[in-house]
């Protein structure tokens, strides 16, 4: 589909150059395989595209992630339930598992170090674990503190690991205030000058994120890698990593 003067026009396959046509179709098939939770196809297509020399970030950002985004949107609309969401995450993880060693190999160092956890009194980690898969896939190093993480534990981990990003997740309106308390503690520690904060989770809104002073808000897990890169001034393909 392309957009011409406000109209959407379907291109017949033969109107695209042969290679573009194949690449586009393969990426689309890869996306659909993630949506349909088809681990075998995800693995086979990802490997095939790697063999054919496709850009690793192209496979990730235009194949795997759009599939996960669609699955998340369907979940939000009530068309998918937890099993479907988990199974799509599993398929995504398999695809990223193919790319990750290659992405790591192509870089001298990690993009950045992220301390992540679900906030105090909250035990929900499906979204957080998905964010971890996506950030690791993009070349970030993750320190996962698990669930029910008190503010002090977040701050200690940030300090100990020299993390650049502190990422927090919450699935309950009754626990999301702990994000605020953690950010306040980060400020009290003085580390807020060098550590950026990122928040997300179903009940978290952009207004809430702004009000508590978070540096970035992720509407869904799939936006975490691009938000994290923006926070550290890294380009989408991860190339301008140490350009500071």
């Amino acid at each position: 589909m392309i957009h011409l003067g406000g109209k959407t026009v379907s291109l017949k396959p033969n109107q695209l150059a042969p290679r573009e046509q194949t690449v586009e179709m393969m990426l689309e098939r890869l996306s659909q395989a993630v949506v349909l939770r088809d681990c075998k196809t995800v693995s086979r297509l990802t490997e095939k595209m790697v063999r054919e020399g496709l850009d690793l970030y192209e496979i990730l950002n235009h194949g795997l992630i759009p599939g996960m985004l669609e699955a998340s949107e369907r979940f939000r609309r009530g068309e998918f339930f937890i099993p479907e969401l988990l199974m799509s995450s599993r398929a995504l993880k398999i695809g990223i598992g193919v790319l990750r060693p290659l992405i790591q190999e192509s870089k001298k160092d990690v993009l950045g170090r992220v301390v992540i956890g679900t906030v105090k009194f909250d035990l929900h980690d499906i979204g957080k674990n998905l964010v971890i898969i996506l950030l690791e896939g993009n070349g970030f190093e993750i320190i996962d503190l698990g669930v029910d993480v008190p503010p002090e534990k977040f701050i200690k981990a940030v300090e100990k690991n020299g993390a650049q990003i502190l990422a927090m997740s919450s699935l309950l309106t009754s626990t999301m205030s702990w994000m605020k308390f953690t950010i306040e503690l980060l400020h009290a520690s003085g580390m807020h000058r060098r550590v950026k904060t990122m928040v997300g989770g179903a009940p978290v809104t952009p207004i809430f994120a702004k009000n508590i002073g978070a540096d970035a808000y992720c509407r869904e897990a799939t936006s975490a890698p691009s938000e994290a890169k923006k926070l550290l001034g890294i380009e989408e393909d991860g190339r301008a990593v140490f350009a500071k």
Partner: protein, 252 residues
């Protein structure tokens, strides 16, 4: 000093408003008409109906709405906007913030009264303090009430539905991923059901997950307040034209 005086005056105004809504028949011209419409979640139907009186009318909606908050908002709004022959003094919602399912809900015609709670467990337990205390004690508590068991899902019923949709191996994996951090099942005795059959089911669920089982005493206090008023600090009064916002529920 001036600030505290203002606050006192403000709270008197709120109190007066609450009492006026309940006691003064400002809109209720026909005495036989109910003065309140209570729009609630089916999970608390019996707990609310025990306080039925001639001044209220009930309408209950499906228990599963909170699972898709976006849809819940639309459904609630449609119900609130339903043209009605009766003039109500207020519409009282038997809903809390419910994963933001109530955010943006408003009425041009009626004052809305909303319990200032995150979810219905506060209502069943009778106070936000008690709920906070129990959740702090064991964050991994899966709360059940007889209404939840009848109308909602339990871990076992979830597992069975996953097996129907997929297979045993997938169902086991999904349920584990979903509930692996839970440490106890707490059955709340809300006092309006004979507990024994529900106790049996709740215990089976705890055994199924291999976690502890406990019973917690419920309380009718907030249900009574919801139906009969006067509405105190645990309720929000949302004026006509105003909409419910997330911030109203948060203690920041």
């Amino acid at each position: 000093m001036l600030l505290s005086l203002t606050l006192v005056l403000y709270s008197i105004k709120i109190e007066n408003m609450r009492e006026a809504l309940l006691d003064n028949g400002q809109v209720d011209r026909k005495q036989s008409n109910p003065k309140l419409l209570i729009l609630g979640c089916a999970v608390m139907e019996r707990e609310l109906r025990q306080f039925q009186n001639g001044r209220v009318e009930f309408k209950f909606l499906d228990q599963g709405l909170h699972r898709t908050p976006q849809n819940m908002t639309k459904i609630l709004q449609t119900e609130i906007d339903q043209p009605c022959e009766e003039e109500y003094n207020a519409i009282v919602l038997g809903y809390g913030l419910c994963s933001n399912g109530i955010v943006s809900v408003h009425s041009q015609k009626h004052t809305l009264v909303v319990p200032r709670i995150h979810d219905c467990i506060t209502l069943f337990l009778g106070s936000p303090e008690y709920y906070r205390q129990e959740s702090a004690k064991q964050p991994g508590t899966y709360y059940l009430t007889p209404g939840w068991i009848e109308k909602g899902q339990t871990p076992i019923s979830k597992y069975e539905s996953y097996v129907r949709s997929y297979d045993e191996e997938t169902a086991t994996w999904v349920l584990h991923e979903e509930l692996k951090h839970y440490t106890r099942i707490a059955l709340i005795d809300t006092g309006v059901y004979p507990l024994e059959p529900y106790r049996k089911i709740a215990r089976q669920n705890a055994e199924f997950l291999g976690i502890n089982y406990e019973e917690l005493p419920g309380s009718p206090l907030l249900f009574k307040e919801l139906v009969c008023g006067p509405w105190g600090k645990n309720f929000l009064i949302v004026e006509k034209g105003q909409s419910v916002q997330q911030e109203m529920f948060l203690d920041l």
